[in-house]
């Protein structure tokens, strides 16, 4: 599955970043940053309710495909700006984690 599929087929909203042709190979969810740091692999779609600057550093240091902010949680404007500067893709959706997992699983991410 590619990032653009989430946007085009499932109504995810892109808040920042450009490379929507990138492939998602894994999905992971956790809100404890050093836990994510220990376990995160490249090309991951990372679901988190954290919406501060530091998620951007984690995502780019670990070469994640994108960050998904679930349940319609608002992302501060300055974080979106920073994400654009660092070219990190932030996606927003009203769905809960389980629904997001289902979409990715059914699209072959497993």
């Amino acid at each position: 599955m590619h990032i653009q599929d989430l946007i085009e087929k499932h109504g995810f909203v892109k808040l920042s970043g450009d490379d929507t042709a990138r492939e998602i190979k894994r999905v992971y969810t956790c809100d404890l940053l050093s836990w994510v740091m220990a376990k995160g692999k490249s090309d991951t779609a990372w679901i988190t309710v954290q919406t501060h600057n530091n998620i951007l550093a984690v995502a780019s240091l670990l070469d994640f495909a994108c960050i998904i902010i679930p349940e319609g949680i608002q992302v501060p404007e300055e974080v979106i700006e920073k994400a654009n500067e660092q070219n990190v893709i932030l996606l927003s959706t009203s769905l809960e984690g389980y629904e997001i997992f289902k979409i990715l699983y059914e699209a072959g991410v497993r």
Partner: protein
């Protein structure tokens, strides 16, 4: 554990960053810069990843737990060395601090997702060589080596 010793011999490049206490807005910048320099130098992905993890956890600890300090990276022919030094408050019981799950992070930091007590164990895990020394009231020094 080897004693902490800074060894600038045959470093092809040295990077130096200041990290301020409580500066959450910029936390992660030093690690990101180190990673992007190493990437430009063509350093292999696995090494890049280990350095990124080690530098990030150390940098965040400076922001959350210390009075501020420095992150340095020496790029050598056979390895990369990271040196983290801070101005205090130091760590009284290093074995306890190294225990997975132990954290003194305050509620505000925990709300941001810090404080799992995994940073120091993560650093040690990704490094080939890990040295930590601390003097309560003085400060903490960490050296980490990742071989290619």
């Amino acid at each position: 554990m080897k004693p902490y010793m800074k060894d600038p011999a045959n470093a092809a490049m040295k990077l130096h960053y200041e990290v301020a206490k409580d500066d959450f807005a910029r936390a992660g910048e030093a690690s990101s810069k180190i990673k992007s320099v190493l990437k430009q130098l063509g350093i292999e992905g696995g090494v890049l990843r280990r350095i990124a993890i080690a530098a990030y956890e150390a940098e965040i600890n400076l922001v959350i737990h210390s009075e501020g300090g420095t992150v340095e990276a020496f790029i050598k022919p056979d390895c990369i060395e990271l040196y983290i030094e801070d101005k205090g408050p130091g760590i009284a019981d290093i074995d306890l601090a190294m225990t997975q799950g132990y954290s003194t992070a305050n509620p505000a930091a925990r709300e941001m997702g810090f404080g799992a007590g995994m940073g120091l164990p993560n650093m040690q895990k990704v490094c080939d060589d890990f040295t930590i020394e601390s003097e309560p009231g003085e400060g903490t020094r960490i050296k980490m080596v990742v071989n290619y």
